[in-house]
Amino acid sequence: MTTPDAQSRPVRATADAAPAVRTGARVADFEALLQPLLERAYGMAYSLTHSRADAEDLVQEAALLAFRAFEQFEPGTNFKAWYYKILTNCFYASHRKQKRQGEQIDLDGVPGLYLYARTAEVGLHAQTDDPAAALLGRLDAEQIVAALDLLPEEYRVACSLYFVQDFAYEDIAQTLSIPLGTVRSRIHRGRKMLQKSLWKIAEEQGIVRQLSEPPASA
């Protein structure tokens, strides 16, 4: 559409419009890659922070950083790993400012098959063919996150990538820039610590007591 003014002025409207169009396309391109990851990204962030407000901030902060660096991202390469590298770096940067308070789980007194042994001790194996499902079925997502929150940071990050993102060891190694052997160690030890913290949560919430009570007779 031309206006009388436009007829006499140099053609700058198109040049001025082009950057806005390019910007909009750049946002669209970026969001097309990010959108499929958002739900799990939020889950990952919540697993790391145990705060819904902090989780949203973390995902947004990482997305903004990634967007600003989008021109450095090579199309066709692993956007998911690239984004989660940024997200975990954001988490480490923000968490270094906060001193860790409260109890943390360690591996002292955590033999292999910890939950298996604990559930057997309270008689759960005699009650059901699937004692793991019987215990885990009583825990909701919030309680799982609370259990993860008790892990030391490096194990919590590795386990969050493992459980929430279903990352293979190689993806975790790439995301965290650590050797494959270190990933394996953190996942194995992290899973053991998580079993201890899950049992702790289950005990504190009265779930263990409920499970060890004999079923009511008909």
Binding site: E31, Y46, V59, Q60, L64, F67, D130, V145, V164
Partner: protein, 84 residues
């Protein structure tokens, strides 16, 4: 690496984490599965560990995302793009 003909329960205990994550060689996987076919206790333990991992993963996949989360992110990205 020289592997035995069969895994003992003690060897199974050491291998179960790597088996759960499919980090064993083809031959080691075969030895684990051969042992599980004949050992009820190790099978019970393995299934317990596998269920814990699967259930933790399933519950964490079902965390509720706040309403309008994507819309708020879009607004921030658009604002950032407009300022660049």
């Amino acid at each position: 690496m020289n592997l035995p003909d069969r895994f003992t329960c003690e060897e199974m205990f050491r291998k179960v984490d790597d088996y759960l994550d499919r980090r064993l060689s083809v031959e080691e996987m075969r030895l684990v599965e051969a042992h599980l076919e004949t050992c009820a206790r190790c099978t019970h333990e393995y299934r317990f560990e596998a269920t814990v991992i699967a259930q933790v993963r399933d519950k964490l996949h079902r965390l509720d995302v706040p309403a309008d989360f994507a819309a708020r992110l879009h607004a921030r990205l658009s604002k950032a793009a407009g300022g660049s």
